[in-house]
């Protein structure tokens, strides 16, 4: 039997190395195509070369842009990340709470369902001017924006995941001697965790869209602000640097959530 289990595990690991290799290869291919296209076009304002972009990225990582009252790429990244983290964590916690109470209390579900149905399709970006009127152009309006974007997605994911837990799983727990509270915490909520994390991954994508838009409209720092400034002065390599920064941050955050999912769900390993 050990042999059977090992036989399943070993090729899976080998396959995953191969997958990472293929993935890295396709990214390299994209970079090569970009470099070739940039050299053919020969105009750094339209399309800078990869090497020029990398050089700019390295230069402004520690050098402020614009030079007066500007911030470095690193500082902008930290500002955006801080806003995302605060809004995302608050929104996820609120969504989890709301989703769980909707699943548990019928009145809450009947009250919240129509509100969520109306609010969820609204693009959070539409609220930026309103939030600026309410909270100014400081951190509060940014965090509130992300919170309102994340909340409905995580709420719906939590509710769906809790509804999908088979009743028999709870029955099994109760007939093994667990109390109703123990069953609620260790079986029903636990079984919903992978679904909640998947909802958080979806919400994270929306959060980046919202924060970049907000920083372009009303901010004095952050990656979105940097990209807009660079665009105003036709600093295309810097625009690409900002975009690359978002790509890296987005990849890191999604990677962290994927890691969390793997920890929570053995079938995803």
């Amino acid at each position: 039997m050990t042999a059977v289990i090992e036989a399943v595990v070993v090729p899976r690991r080998r396959r995953s190395y191969r997958r990472v290799g293929t993935g890295a290869g396709s990214l390299v291919l994209v970079l090569v195509l970009w470099e070739a296209a940039a050299r053919v076009i020969g105009d750094p304002v339209t399309l800078p070369t990869v090497t020029e972009t990398v050089r700019t990225f390295g230069e402004y990582l520690a050098k402020p842009y614009p030079e007066v009252q500007g911030k470095t790429l690193l500082q902008d990244a930290l500002i955006s990340t801080g806003r995302i983290l605060a809004g995302f964590l608050l929104g996820s916690a609120a969504g989890l709470l709301l989703g769980a109470s909707m699943a548990g209390v019928r009145v809450v579900r009947e009250l919240a369902d129509p509100v969520i149905a109306v609010v969820r399709p609204l693009p959070p970006i539409a609220f930026i001017p309103l939030l600026v009127v309410w909270f100014g152009i400081g951190e509060t309006s940014k965090i509130a924006l992300i919170l309102f974007g994340v909340l409905p997605v995580v709420t719906v994911a939590t509710l769906g995941a809790l509804d999908a837990v088979p009743a028999e799983l709870g029955h099994a727990s109760r007939s093994l001697g667990a109390s109703p509270l123990h069953t609620m915490l260790h079986v029903r909520l636990r079984a919903a965790v992978p679904g909640v994390i998947t909802g958080m991954r979806i919400a994270m994508g929306g959060a980046w869209t919202a924060i970049i838009a907000a920083e372009m409209i009303a901010a004095t720092g952050g990656v979105g602000f940097l990209i807009l400034q660079a665009g105003n002065y036709l600093q295309t390599p810097l625009i690409f640097s900002g975009i690359a920064e978002i790509a890296v941050l987005g990849f890191v955050f999604d990677g962290l959530l994927r890691l969390l999912l793997r920890l929570a769900d053995p079938t995803a390993r």
Partner: protein
């Protein structure tokens, strides 16, 4: 000597089930309720293997669910081991149609779930869990997660998870119904051996006449919905039974008697 001491000790744990005039109606919105059980009475002796047999929808699963304490009866009484059933409890082990293992726990953690949840996880319990895994043939799959196990292995893990609680009665709701024929035969053989060793009371729901005749001491046939007890048949086949018994004349006759009651 150990055999002499062991068998009464194990038999002592087995508890009887007493069901008296149980009624259950499922209510539906704006429509008349559907009666699932109408006056079911039944006695299961301690250590007995009883099969509940009936056409689909006859309420046999509802009856099992009432004994387990997941559903409450509208009227009538259900007494297990001298105590009226008011809710689920670990003294009544339940095996479902699907194994219902917790997918985020390993086989080992699944088996220890009950004792841990009840706060009685001791070194002895761990030792017993290891022995149980040996018994059900999963000692090597101890750290595997349910999705890494085959269908039969999952069912055997579910057995171990229930048996660690020393239930006085095992309630089984068509547990092998979803398995392929070969795995199913293997599980039936496994169950026969297990019962032969432990002599726990078993209430086994099935719609398969052959399965009922092979496993049960008695077969309780429920009538078409709404369910009531139609007849309780003694299966006189000698114990211990094995799969070879399915080819004997007595077995064929037992099957025919059950079928006659079913079609009556």
């Amino acid at each position: 000597m150990s055999a002499v001491v062991e068998s009464p000790a194990v038999a002592e744990q087995a508890t009887g089930v007493r069901i008296r005039d149980v009624h259950k109606t499922f209510h539906r919105k704006r429509r008349p309720g559907r009666a699932a059980l109408e006056g079911v009475s039944l006695d299961v002796e301690p250590g007995e293997f009883l099969c509940l047999l009936g056409p689909s929808g006859c309420g046999k699963s509802t009856l099992l669910s009432i004994i387990a304490g997941f559903t409450s009866a509208d009227s009538g009484e259900v007494i297990v081991g001298g105590r009226a059933v008011t809710g689920p409890g670990h003294e009544r082990g339940v095996l479902f149609q699907t194994p219902n293992l917790f997918p985020w726990l390993t086989t080992w953690q699944n088996v220890l779930y009950g004792p841990k949840a009840r706060g009685v996880l001791t070194a002895e319990v761990r030792e017993e869990a290891a022995e149980l895994l040996e018994t059900v043939g999963l000692a090597d799959a101890r750290d595997a997660y349910p999705h890494e196990l085959s269908g039969g292995m999952r069912h055997r893990a579910a057995f171990a998870r229930v048996l660690i609680n020393h239930p006085g009665v095992l309630l089984m709701d068509e547990p092998f119904g979803a398995l392929d024929a070969i795995t199913r035969a293997g599980m039936q053989r496994f169950l026969l051996e297990l019962w032969q060793k432990r002599r726990t009371t078993i209430v086994f729901v099935t719609h398969d006449v052959e399965e009922a005749a092979l496993l049960g001491d008695r077969v309780c046939v429920l009538s078409a919905p709404p369910g009531g007890t139609k007849a309780v048949l003694d299966i006189g086949l000698p114990r211990p039974r094995s799969y070879d018994d399915t080819e004997t004349l007595e077995f064929v006759q037992a099957k025919r008697r059950i079928r006659e009651v079913l079609e009556r």
